[in-house]
Structure formats: structure tokens, C-alpha cells
């Protein structure tokens, strides 16, 4: 496996996975979504997961985020074994440590931008204020708007603000730009990059868009439930330079 970039080489490992497998049984059909994945993610690192549909990247992200449990293998988060946790502990794990960003934003339609963020800050241990979080993603002027009054890109940035407001150790993004055009997509990537840089949040981004890979420290290529390849970007590009 390729080593992370020099500056992060001595960083603390956040996730350590060994031999992760996930098998879904749907009646007669058995799907091996993950077929033995080993990986380590380091604090402050930004990684991109690339690969065709069904290659296992979403399954890995769900397991990292505590939404799902591996069928076998071990997964440690800062030394804590996640694969053996129950539902309640996983909920607390998500609440305290993980931020999620989804393709379709998943905002609460009846709450304004600020209130959507407040939803999380109200239950978090050491959150920033909703206003700070929204300022981080450049939405300080849209705080009292409801989701339906905002563009897709703005909604996605609210979702990022909501995800990072609790100062999570990890930010997991599943196709964050999948529903956006290139211009708004870049604004979203800029928001992710600045959060990663300013807060040092370990960030994993799933995408179909290979152009995005250049903003990451490392890129994981998935195929058939395995990590087929890992590349370290010698030079990261700014989101604005990404060509769609």
C-alpha cells in the first residue's frame, strides 16, 4: 500500500481496518459487497474513493460511519473497536465523531439553514455555533432561508455546515457533488477543502467523477469489493482548478 503524503506520515491513524468483508444475503442471492479491505486513514487526511457502482465504496463508507456493521474483519476508530458496538453505541459514535454529507443533502425541509445546523449543535458535545458553521461554508447571508428557497449547491453547503458544526473527527461524503452542476459543485468542494484544512477533519469523499481525485491526499480505487489501487497525489490541486 502506498504511504500517505510526507507531511501526514507521522499523523495519528483515525481508522484502521483489516480484512473487512460485508456479505448481503437477499433471499437466494448472496452479494459480496466488501471482499477483504485493509486500510488506514490518518488524522487530517483527505481521501477520495473512486470506482464503478457496486465496487464497495459506499459499503465501506457506511461501515466507517457506523451505519452498518462488517460481516467479518476488524475496524478500529482511534483504537476503539467499532465492529462489536451495538446500535446505541453506534448512534453515540455517529453523534460525537462523524459528519455525513449525502448526494441529496437530506435537510429537514421545515427548518431554515440555521435551524438545520442547530439540530445537530443542540445534541453535540462541543459544537461551534450554527452561524460559525454556516460562515465556514460561505452561507452567512442565507441563514434564515428554508431548503426549498435555496439552490442545490447552497443546500449541499448547509449539509456540510450541519456535518462539521459538531467538530467531528471524520467527515464522510457520499457523492456530494453528484446532483450538482460543475460551478456549484466546485463551491461545494471548496467548502470541503477549507473545512479539511482549517479544522483538520479527516475527510473521505466518494465520487464517480474522476476529476475530483486531484484534490485529495490519497485516492483509493475500488473494484469488486476490494481496494484495487491507491495513489498518493504528489501535488493537490485547488477545487477551482478541477476541470469537470
Amino acid at each position: 500500500m502506498a504511504a500517505p503524503r510526507e507531511s501526514l506520515a507521522h499523523a495519528e491513524p483515525i481508522f484502521e481496518a483489516q480484512g473487512l468483508t460485508k456479505i448481503y444475503r437477499n433471499g437466494e442471492v448472496v452479494v459480496r459487497a466488501l471482499a477483504g479491505v485493509d486500510l488506514t486513514l490518518f488524522a487530517g487526511e483527505m481521501v477520495v474513493l473512486l470506482g464503478p457502482s457496486g465496487s464497495g465504496k459506499s459499503t465501506l463508507l457506511n461501515i466507517l460511519g457506523g451505519l452498518d456493521r462488517p460481516t467479518s474483519g476488524t475496524l478500529r476508530f482511534k483504537g476503539l473497536e467499532l465492529s462489536g458496538l451495538g446500535d446505541r453505541e453506534l448512534t453515540l459514535y455517529r453523534r460525537d465523531h462523524v459528519g455525513f454529507v449525502f448526494q441529496f443533502y437530506n435537510l429537514v425541509p421545515s427548518l431554515t439553514a440555521r435551524e438545520n445546523v442547530a439540530l445537530v449543535t443542540e445534541i453535540a458535545r462541543d459544537p461551534m455555533t450554527p452561524d460559525e458553521a454556516l460562515a465556514l461554508v460561505g452561507l452567512e447571508h442565507r441563514m434564515d432561508h428554508f431548503p426549498a428557497q435555496m439552490s442545490g449547491g447552497e443546500q449541499q453547503r448547509v449539509a456540510i455546515a450541519r456535518a462539521i458544526a459538531k467538530r467531528p473527527e471524520v467527515l464522510l461524503c457520499d457523492e456530494p457533488t453528484g446532483a450538482l452542476d460543475s460551478k456549484t459543485g466546485i463551491r461545494v468542494l471548496e467548502a470541503l477543502a477549507s473545512v479539511n484544512a482549517e479544522l483538520g477533519t479527516t475527510t473521505a469523499v466518494i465520487t464517480h467523477n474522476a476529476a475530483i481525485k486531484d484534490i485529495a491526499h490519497r485516492v483509493f480505487y475500488f473494484a469488486d469489493g476490494r481496494i484495487a489501487d491507491v495513489k498518493v497525489n504528489a501535488r493537490r490541486v485547488e477545487p477551482a482548478e478541477v476541470s469537470w
Binding site: N62, L67, D68, F102
Partner: protein, 787 residues
């Protein structure tokens, strides 16, 4: 089976809890409608058939004594079809198996011919043989309650002499469908019996040979009853007539009528509630189903199914749910109807029961239920019809939320985002929120109705037995007695206190308004039988004036200070004018009270008493009862303790059955409304809730987001439910009011509390069932899909 029909069945199987909740509400409406209308009809038809076959009279009159030829004048009154002369007298009964004396009403049977009016239905044995003294046919409930059969014997004080009577027959009469003894509040068949004896023996005993003291008349259809009564009164005036009265004032008939009115009130109030709720639930559920199946509807239309075929598919779903509910409701209504009719059998004695099983009631119930279901589903069905395939394939426009006036006023600031979500949802769909709250409120209202009856009855008991009529027993004399009998009563074993009273039959008139009733005279010093004002404080009887109760004041439109015309009936006739001194509280009959001396002056004779209220030492009760049984002058004894016991027993039985029914109905409503609303909320907001779970909300916290809105609506619904309960209760009490009986309208605060608790518990239980589904939210799948 077509593919669409298969989809229909699978949809139903998937939606079964929601469909069942709606079907149960429909079933409740159908059942109460069938119960209300069906039972009323059964009872009404039974009564009509009974009255017709056994010639129940139209007009009744009692008098002191008139020679039989007077009958001819009565027969000549225009419109009179037949006349039956009777001898009627109360008698004290001594039953071996009972320590306390019972009361009998002896009624003569005509000699040498069957009775023309109020004919008996013989259950057992035969009618008394005029040639044999001491033979009696008794009414069936009395015989049953006392274990009397053919050949049984008991003693009765008749005409001042104790005689042994032998039962030769057991019968029923249309006159005593509801057999209420003198002074009783509820029928007590152990202590009140009707004794039919030959005219010859009663005439001999009461010295009424060739004479009569009661008469029954049957009128030709279309006859003016009031005019006949006026003429009868004219004829009987000189024979001590105390005023003829029509069927409506006949005790048995009036009670039966009251019951029928209540059934009618029930069938007008309760089924519409269920129809409304079922329409609302149908609307809620179908709208959501159609929102979820938008794309499928578009697809079906795109595949070439006609608009009608697709709409018909959803109509069949509505129809299936309605039909299931109607079937269930018909069975339940039939079953409950039989139960209720059987319950009536304990109070109303008919020789036969006509079970009205007319299909039109079922057809009506089915029709209105289907109509309500389709009305409820109409908007959703119209959307199916109108939805263009191309539009259907696109996602619907997302709901727009706005800051509302509540927030602009800053009212939500202290609350969490969860409360904000709930309030915005309610305000975004205000009609839905309103109807949900109304549904829950109706459930609370029904429980209030279930419980308040007991409050009213307890109030009635408290005022009647513990504040007004505080005597332990009342002795009624066969004839008015001179005041000195008071002295004799005071010396009976164990008697601690004796207070006389006098009853004078009169007609009270205020302009064209008129009622026949008795003025009750009471002594100035009253410890036992008191008179209370509307604030329930004991009042002093005025030296001259009259006190009337609220019901009488209402029907004669009297108020304090009015002068009312008093026509004396009975032996001393004449017309007087008396001032109404005050309006007082009393729940039984039309009450008019005077000072006993003032009453004697009004009648124009010396002090006389009709009976005595007594308090006695319980330890001497057996000796007292023995003395009473052996005092020929006493025609009847009323025992407060037994009356109260009987009253409570009967009420407890009726109320507990009624309460169970009402609570079941309200739980069905509460469950239906809350369950379906929550399911729909869950379905609409599954994505939102799953997102929150992903963000780290626990199941409990997510459930709070789901249930806060319903909790707020349920809480807001309670005061509205109390108000509705108040209105229903008031309507029910109104239906119950009659000249015989007034029920105070009382709802204790605890009743409101209990009602809210019942509904909150039902709501919480149904919400918790739905909450289980929060646990099964698919966190991963929901994030991959666009809403």
C-alpha cells in the same frame, strides 16, 4: 384475477393496520346506527303490537267512587270507542320470605266477560274465579322476583283486613310494561306487585259494589284527546275525579317513551361522529398512498390503462375497506342490539319481542358509510383521475415552509428545533392538524359522556336521599287521616321522629298552560323530608304561597311572584289563586310544595295527613315492620334504604355497560386517528427521520420528532373534547328530561381528567406501535434516494 386486482390485494395486505383502523371506525358507525335505529324500532314495534293486541287504553282517570251507570255518559263522549271500569287500590303485602312489607296495586277484572281494555297476557294459570274469594293473578316480574308460582300464598292488607291470597295466574299487562311502585325511583319487582282480582271480591272488600274508582278509555283514531279529557273531568267532577290523563302521562308508557327518545338521540349523535372520522381517515390514508404511488399511476396510464380504470382501482380499495367495516359493523350492531334488547328485558316487560331486522336499516348504514368513505377519498381519487402521465413521472413539488406569525412573535424561541419542526408542520397543513385534533377531541368527548352520567346520578342521589328526603321510611295511608294519627305513628316501635305530609291533587294553570299534579303539604318543622332552594339550602315554607320546582316552573312558565290558578280535584272542588313564592330544586316529577296548614286552608278543611315520614331505630326494625304489616290504615310503605340500594344497583349495571361501550368506541376513534396520522407522518418523513438517525439522533430523539406534533395536537384536543363532551352530555340530558324525571347536569372535574387520561393512553399506545417502525428505518437506503 387481473394484475391490477392483484396489486389491490397486495396493497391491502401491506396497509392492513391502517385499513383495519379505518374499517373499525366505519364498523363503529354502522354498529351504533343499527343499534340505535334497529333497537328503537324493535322496541317501538314491540310496544305498538303489544298495545294493539292487548288494547292499551288512551285515557285514564281515577276518582273516589262513582256508580256504574256513569259509564254510559263516558261512552257517549264523542270519539270514545270503549270504556273499562275498574276498582284500583294499593295494598300492603306481607310476603313470608321478606321482612319488609311490600306494596301491591289491586286492580279489578270485569265479571262475566273478558276485559275490553288493558287486557292481560296470561303467562301461567288462569284469571281469578269470581266465585272463589282470595284468588289473584299477579304480574310476572313480581312473581319471579319473589318466587311465586301457581298455588303460592301470601297475605295482603285489603280494606283494613289482612287476607290470604292464592296465586292462580301469572300475567303481563300493557299498563305495566315498566312497573314502578309508589315513591320508587326504579322498578323494584321484589317490593311492588300488581294483583288482578275479580271485581266481585274487590267491590266487596272496598265497599264499592255497583261502583268504580278508576276508568280507562279507548278513543277512535283522530279524536281530540284534550277535549275528551275535559269532558271526562266534567263528568267525574262530582265523583271525586282527580283529573283524567292521557297515555303520555301514564308512568309505564312515559318511561318507555323516554328510553326510545334516548335511543333516537343516540342514533342522531353517535353515528355521524364515526362517519366524519372515517371520512377523514380515508382522506388521510388514500392521499398518502396516492402520493407514494404517483409514478405507478403515471406508469399505468402510460401503459395504456384508461383514467377510469386507474381511478377505479383506487375506488375499489376504498370500497373494500368500507365493505369490510360495514360487514363487521353489521355483525356487531346485530349482536349489541340483541344484548341491549335483552337488557331492556330486565326493565320492560313484554310478552313477546318483535325483532326488527329490516334490511333498510342495514342498507342505510351501508349507504351512508360508503358515502362517507368516498367523500373522504374524493380529493385523492380526483387527483388520480386528473394526473397526467408525464407529470406523474416527475417528483411532486416539495412543500414550502415559511416563518409563521407564531415565530414572528417570538413564541417558539424558547423551544428546541424538534418543537419548531412540529409547529411548522401543523401550520403548513392546518386543516389536517385541525381535523386530527377534532378526531381526538371527539374521542375525549365520548369518554366524558361515558363518565358524566355517574356524576349526575351521584348528584341526584346526594340531593334526593341525603339532603332532601332524609327519612328512613314513608307510610302512605289508604285514606286521608286526621292529624292525631301522627301521635299513633310516633308510638310505633322504634320510631324516633315522625313528620306528616299531605297530598292534594290539583290542576295548576297559568294562562293556557296546564298540568295535573299534586301539591305536597309539609309541616313547618322539618328534619326529614325537606325542601331545598336552587342553591341547595333548606328553605322555610311560606305562610301562604307555593314553591314549585324548576321543571314545573319551566313547563308552566312561572317565576317567583307569579300568581297561578289552582283547580282542586278530588272531593273538595273549587278554583283558587296562589302566589309562587320561590322556585326550588327537586328532580322527580312536577313538584309543588306548601305549608301543610296553608294547604288545608286552601282546600278549606281541617288538618289532615296523607302519610308520615319517619326516622326509626334500626334495632327495632323487625318490630316496626310487624306493626306496619298489622296496621290496616297503611296502604304502602316506602323504604329509602332499599330504594337507594335498588337505584344504585340498577344504575351501576346500566352505567357500567354503557361506559364499556362508549370507551370502546372512543378508543377505536383515538386509535384510528392517532395510528393513521402517525403512520402517515412516518411515511412522509421517513427520509428526514432516517437522516436524523444518521446524524446521531437516538431512536428516542427521532421518535420525539415524529410524535411531538401528535402530542401537541392530542393535548390541544383535550379542552375541545371536554367542550364536545359537555355538549353531548347536555343533549343527552335534554333527551332524558320529562315530567316524571329530571336529571341534574353535572360533570365533575375528575371526569374531564379521566376522559383525557383514557384518550391519552389510547393515543400513546397507538403512537408506540408506530414507534416500533422507527427502529426499522433503513438508514442506508433512504440516503440514496431522492424524496
Amino acid at each position: 384475477m387481473s394484475a391490477l386486482d392483484r396489486k389491490l390485494l397486495r396493497d391491502l395486505m401491506r396497509l392492513w393496520p391502517q385499513a383495519l383502523a379505518i374499517a373499525l371506525v366505519v364498523a363503529s358507525g354502522v354498529a351504533t346506527l343499527i343499534l340505535g335505529i334497529g333497537t328503537r324500532r324493535s322496541l317501538d314495534e314491540t310496544r305498538t303490537a303489544y298495545y294493539e293486541q292487548y288494547e292499551f287504553a288512551d285515557v285514564f282517570a281515577e276518582l273516589t267512587r262513582a256508580p256504574k251507570p256513569v259509564a254510559r255518559s263516558l261512552e257517549e263522549i264523542a270519539g270514545v270507542r270503549s270504556v273499562e271500569l275498574r276498582i284500583r287500590r294499593f295494598a300492603l303485602l306481607d310476603l313470608e320470605q321478606r321482612e319488609e312489607p311490600a306494596t301491591g296495586l289491586a286492580i279489578s277484572l270485569p265479571e262475566h266477560r273478558p276485559a275490553v281494555l288493558n287486557r292481560l297476557y296470561l303467562r301461567q294459570g288462569r284469571l281469578p274465579d269470581p266465585s272463589r274469594a282470595g284468588e289473584v293473578t299477579v304480574n310476572e316480574p313480581f312473581a319471579k322476583a319473589n318466587g311465586l308460582g301457581i298455588g303460592s300464598q301470601f297475605s295482603a292488607v285489603l280494606g283494613g283486613t289482612k287476607r290470604t291470597l292464592t296465586v292462580v295466574g301469572v300475567a303481563l299487562s300493557p299498563e305495566f310494561v315498566y312497573a314502578l311502585g309508589p315513591g320508587d325511583l326504579m322498578p323494584d319487582n321484589r317490593r311492588f306487585g300488581v294483583l288482578w282480582m275479580s271485581e266481585k271480591s274487590l267491590a266487596g272488600i272496598f265497599d264499592l259494589e255497583g261502583a268504580f274508582n278508576a276508568v280507562e278509555l279507548k278513543l277512535l283514531p283522530g279524536t281530540n284527546e284534550a277535549e275528551v279529557i275535559r269532558q271526562v273531568d266534567g263528568i267525574l267532577e262530582r265523583y271525586g275525579g282527580v283529573g283524567a290523563y292521557a297515555r303520555v302521562d301514564q308512568v309505564s308508557h312515559a318511561f318507555l317513551d323516554g328510553e326510545l327518545k334516548q335511543l333516537q338521540a343516540m342514533s342522531r349523535v353517535i353515528p355521524p361522529i364515526f362517519l366524519f372520522v372515517s371520512a377523514f381517515l380515508m382522506n388521510l390514508t388514500l392521499s398518502r398512498l396516492i402520493a407514494l404511488e404517483r409514478e405507478q399511476i403515471g406508469l399505468l396510464k402510460a401503459l395504456g390503462y384508461s383514467r377510469l380504470a386507474v381511478t377505479g382501482h383506487y375506488m375499489r380499495l376504498v370500497l373494500l375497506i368500507a365493505v369490510f367495516g360495514i360487514g363487521l359493523g353489521s355483525l356487531a350492531g346485530n349482536w349489541l342490539g340483541r344484548g341491549l334488547t335483552r337488557l331492556y328485558g330486565d326493565f320492560f316487560f313484554f310478552p313477546f319481542l318483535v325483532f326488527s331486522r329490516d334490511l333498510d336499516v342495514y342498507a342505510l348504514a351501508a349507504l351512508v358509510s360508503c358515502a362517507a368513505a368516498f367523500l373522504g377519498g374524493a380529493k385523492a381519487l380526483w387527483e388520480v383521475l386528473a394526473l397526467a402521465p408525464a407529470v406523474a413521472m416527475q417528483p411532486p413539488v416539495p412543500p414550502r415552509f415559511r416563518q409563521t406569525w407564531i415565530e414572528r412573535l417570538g413564541l417558539l424561541r424558547p423551544f428546541s428545533q424538534v418543537t419548531t419542526i412540529a409547529v411548522r408542520h401543523m401550520l403548513r397543513w392546518p386543516l389536517r392538524a385541525l381535523l386530527t385534533a377534532l378526531g381526538i377531541a371527539l374521542a375525549t368527548g365520548l369518554v366524558v359522556v361515558a363518565f358524566f352520567t355517574l356524576d349526575s346520578v351521584e348528584m341526584m342521589i346526594d340531593i334526593t336521599f341525603f339532603r332532601t328526603e332524609r327519612q328512613q321510611a314513608t307510610l302512605n295511608f289508604a285514606e286521608e287521616a286526621p292529624l292525631r294519627v301522627l301521635h299513633d305513628v310516633e308510638h310505633m316501635p322504634g320510631v324516633l321522629r315522625a313528620e306528616p305530609y299531605r297530598i292534594v291533587a290539583v290542576k295548576l294553570r297559568n294562562g293556557h298552560l296546564e298540568r295535573r299534579l299534586s301539591i305536597i303539604g309539609k309541616p313547618p318543622e322539618r328534619e326529614l323530608s325537606r325542601v331545598l332552594d336552587v342553591e341547595l339550602k333548606p328553605v322555610d315554607l311560606p305562610e301562604h304561597g307555593l314553591l314549585v320546582n324548576q321543571r314545573l316552573a319551566d313547563v308552566l312558565e312561572l317565576s317567583r311572584g307569579d300568581e297561578v290558578e289552582v283547580e282542586l280535584l278530588g272531593k273538595r272542588r273549587g278554583i283558587r289563586r296562589v302566589v309562587v313564592d320561590d322556585v326550588i330544586e327537586s328532580y322527580f316529577g312536577l313538584g309543588a310544595f306548601m305549608d301543610i296548614d296553608a294547604l288545608s286552608r286552601l282546600v278549606g278543611e281541617g288538618p289532615r295527613v296523607s302519610g308520615v315520614h319517619i326516622a326509626y331505630d334500626r334495632r327495632q326494625q323487625p318490630a316496626l315492620y310487624r306493626a306496619v304489616k298489622n296496621t290496616p290504615a297503611i296502604a304502602a310503605i316506602e323504604l329509602q334504604r332499599i330504594a337507594l340500594q335498588r337505584f344504585r344497583e340498577t344504575m351501576a349495571e346500566n352505567i357500567s355497560i354503557m361506559r364499556a361501550v362508549y370507551i370502546t368506541l372512543s378508543v377505536i376513534i383515538a386509535f384510528g386517528v392517532v395510528y393513521n396520522s402517525t403512520r402517515i407522518q412516518l411515511s412522509e418523513r421517513a427520509r428526514e427521520l432516517a437522516s436524523l438517525r444518521v446524524l446521531g439522533f437516538t431512536r428516542g430523539e427521532v421518535s420525539r420528532v415524529l410524535l411531538t406534533e401528535l402530542a401537541i395536537l392530542t393535548a390541544l384536543a383535550q379542552p375541545l373534547g371536554w367542550l364536545l363532551g359537555y355538549v353531548f352530555g347536555w343533549a343527552l340530558i335534554r333527551a332524558f328530561q320529562s315530567d316524571l324525571f329530571t336529571v341534574p347536569f353535572v360533570i365533575e372535574p375528575a371526569t374531564y381528567g379521566t376522559s383525557a387520561l383514557v384518550v391519552l393512553a389510547a393515543a400513546a399506545a397507538s403512537a408506540l406501535i408506530v414507534r416500533q417502525r422507527v427502529d426499522r428505518l433503513d438508514l442506508i437506503a433512504v440516503l440514496k434516494t431522492r424524496d
